[in-house]
């Protein structure tokens, strides 16, 4: 199902272009620039992923139905998938838009000049790779690279771990050196004189696996938190030893993914009630396990709060 969506809509779930790009319209981000902020649609997709996974989890629990992937195949044949999934509430969608705006505003604050490809922006294809569909991934990656070339993109600012890993490491691995640089917004902010003023806030840090173990963005994340004047606590499984949120297998088995998230939540809860994440997938899966008990915020949400 997800694969089919990537083929048909170039995204793992069918989402209207307006939903993907409205944040940038609001900020009047220019279109044609050599430097672009790249969302890969991941933050925008979170509310849709959440409702889809909740739906699949319900099916997984039912006897005799079994695995999500299988269900997807069957469903695709009978009904339009988009009608099955409840549309996420306006608040949830707005939250994701605010995150993207916060990142863009923070980058503007430190005078980074960048554009955005709007509805032309392609998905990174990273899910294809995670599921072992490497040939499909390679084809998809080629499309993305060609598009960047056509649009004259020289530098890509990524904002989530999965797209960062795909563009920075997987693309060169599959296609050889690319014509554009890839830099994550956390790196950019950490190197700048970016400052914020938030007094009295404290967070337990949940490092995304990819930032901590694949991208080595450990100190950078902390230096931003410090620059915002926010205090932070390190759980036992932190930094290079961080613990997965379970997200990567949520498509395969929502229940198992939730179990992994519950273990992580069990640990994090011992250190405080506010959790800092820096990945939309971590956010979605940890949120599913934590319910209303803990406050989970994306780094960019904290940035937004501390900039004003």
């Amino acid at each position: 199902m997800f694969i089919d969506n990537v083929r048909r809509y170039k995204l793992p779930l069918p989402v209207e272009a307006r939903v993907l790009t409205s944040w940038a319209h609001d900020l009047k981000i220019p279109r044609d620039k050599e430097v672009v902020m790249y969302t890969g649609g991941l933050y925008q997709l979170v509310p849709y992923i959440q409702s889809t996974i909740n739906y699949l989890e319900g099916l997984e629990g039912k006897k005799g139905i079994g695995l999500a992937v299988k269900i997807g195949k069957a469903l695709r044949k009978v009904i339009d998938f988009t009608k099955v999934i409840a549309k996420p509430s306006g608040d949830v969608v707005k939250r994701q838009m605010d995150i993207l705006k916060a990142i863009a505003i923070a980058l503007r604050k430190i005078n980074v000049d960048f554009g955005y490809l709007y509805e032309e922006e392609p998905y990174s294809g990273v899910l294809l790779h995670d599921l072992g569909m490497e040939d499909e991934f390679e084809k998809h990656a080629k499309l993305v690279v060609d598009l960047f070339k056509e649009r004259g993109v020289k530098k890509v600012i990524t904002i989530d771990p999965h797209s960062t890993y795909a563009l920075k490491h997987l693309y060169p691995k599959f296609l050889g050196a690319t014509d554009f640089d890839v830099v994550n917004y956390i790196e950019i902010l950490a190197k700048s004189d970016f400052k914020g003023k938030c007094e009295g806030l404290s967070y337990v840090i949940h490092d995304p696996c990819i930032y901590a173990r694949y991208e080595n963005l450990i100190e950078e994340l902390r230096s931003i938190v410090e620059a915002l004047n926010v205090k932070y606590v390190e759980p036992e499984n932190s930094r290079e030893l961080t613990y997965c949120c379970g997200g990567p297998i949520e498509v395969l088995s929502p229940r198992l993914a939730k179990k992994v998230a519950e273990r992580r939540i069990e640990e994090l809860r011992r250190y405080g009630k506010r959790i800092l994440v820096a990945c939309p997938i971590c956010y979605a899966n940890l949120k599913r396990a934590a319910g209303e008990e803990l406050e989970i915020h994306d780094l960019s949400e904290i940035i937004a709060r501390c900039l004003t």
């Binding site: 079994g66 695995l67 992937v69 299988k70 790779h129 995670d130 599921l131 072992g132 569909m133 490497e134 040939d135 696996c209 990819i210 173990r213 694949y214 290079e240 030893l241 961080t242 613990y243 997965c244 379970g246 997200g247 990567p248 297998i249 395969l252 088995s253 229940r255 198992l256 179990k259 992994v260 273990r263």
Partner: protein, 398 residues
């Protein structure tokens, strides 16, 4: 090839297994701080690990040379050296060395699990006892080892008491101390009577043929010392280029399971001997009269040549990746093949049972990278998992 769905069902079933869940929770809770503490108190282990990795690179890059060298040196010290390419060849050697109607005591060893040595010897009419407490429980439970070092984590004390009743234990379910006393007495009688002791090997020194074994219970000392014949079976990847390197590997392994220094570290070079009368060396004194070392290929050499899973042969089987993996923490070795489970176990399954067995298991890898992070040999398990995922998809679509 099993489907993703079938694997998911196994994993979800593991979540419902209360004994397994309790055992996993306790093992994780107790072992991880212990291991971290051990490594912090003994920072030189990290340097030793690097040394071991380098030594392994040397051996794995010249495997045929090192197999020959090891065999020559086993013979030089009056051991009997065997090379077995397949399981059947191992059985043939065992049939000659052990025969039938013998009492056999066994040390815990994953390669003998892989080879189903116990089952084979029983089939040939021998009486075979696992002597590691956990492995004895697994033998009685007729289940499979759930962790490389602590095979019985899925068996609660209540279940342990119940299993030991088969052997005549009549104490209470809370009396773990009594259970140990019972097993100690029960197995002592077997150790003395046993004709053959069978062990694995933590490492084998190519220069002397010395077999290195690490343990805490003391059973391996009995297995390798009391019977007239000691047979050690080692995967060819256990060969190390020097005596010191072989010992280092055992030290790194012990530290990464948190029992460091281990209670016993044995280095066995040849059968027992004396030269006390006129300096003439004679073999077979208090220890075994015969030492057989079987170097087992079982697909490993092919894997080294093909490259995809070659990195896994650096594995020192400490099981650290298992303890730290979020999926293993939920399902133990139920996430695995017939013998090996967890991150390293999925790749070992590809090597020993075939890629079709391992590929659907790999789909459930989170690709979170924790296994590589904690691996003392820095084995890139996530990368090999990706290869398996790719294989699964290629087969399903073709």
């Amino acid at each position: 090839m099993r489907s993703a769905r079938e694997i998911a069902e196994v994993l979800l079933k593991a979540l419902e297994d209360k004994g397994l869940q309790a055992g996993l929770d306790k093992s994780i809770l107790n072992s991880i701080p212990l291991i971290k503490g051990t490594l912090k108190r003994n920072p030189y282990i990290e340097d030793l690990a690097k040394r071991v990795k380098k030594a392994k690179d040397e051996v794995l890059g010249n495997i045929e040379y090192y197999i020959d060298k090891t065999m020559d040196n086993i013979r030089r010290f009056k051991g009997v050296a065997h090379f077995a390419k397949t399981r059947e060849e191992v059985y043939k050697i065992l049939d000659e060395v052990v025969g039938s109607e013998k009492m056999v005591v066994k040390a815990k060893s994953m390669v003998t699990e892989e080879l189903k040595v116990r089952e084979h010897l029983v089939e040939r009419g021998n009486e075979v006892w696992e002597t590691d407490l956990g492995e004895l429980l697994v033998q009685l439970d007729k289940s499979k080892p759930m962790h490389t070092i602590v095979p019985s984590i899925h068996i609660t004390k209540e279940r342990s008491a119940q299993l030991l009743r088969e052997l005549g234990f009549n104490g209470g379910v809370e009396e773990v101390r009594e259970m140990i006393e019972f097993v100690r007495k029960f197995l002592r009688e077997r150790f003395v009577k046993a004709h053959v002791g069978i062990s694995g090997a933590n490492s084998v020194d190519a220069n002397s043929g010395a077999v290195i074994l690490v343990e805490n219970e003391g059973n391996i000392r009995h297995v390798t010392n009391l019977p007239d014949i000691h047979v050690s079976i080692a995967g060819v990847e256990k060969i190390m280029p020097s005596y010191i390197d072989a010992i280092c590997q055992a030290m790194v392994q012990a530290a990464n399971i948190g029992t460091y220094p281990p209670t016993y570290l044995s280095a066995i070079t040849g059968p027992s001997s004396t030269a006390d009368i006129e300096f003439i060396r004679l073999y077979g004194v208090h220890g075994p009269k015969e030492l057989h070392v079987i170097l087992y290929d079982g697909g490993r050499i092919k894997v080294l040549k093909e490259g995809i899973f070659a990195d896994q042969l650096h594995c020192i089987r400490c099981g650290r990746c298992q303890l730290e993996c979020p999926i293993w923490q939920l399902a133990g070795n139920m996430w695995g093949g017939e013998v090996y489970g967890g991150p390293m176990g999925v790749i070992w399954t590809a090597i020993t049972e075939g890629i079709e067995e391992a590929a659907p298991l790999a789909l459930f890898c989170l690709n979170c990278g924790k296994c590589k992070e904690v691996c003392p040999m820095d084995i890139d398990i996530p990368n090999m998992m990706s290869e398996l995922k790719r294989y699964y998809h290629d087969i399903r679509t073709s």
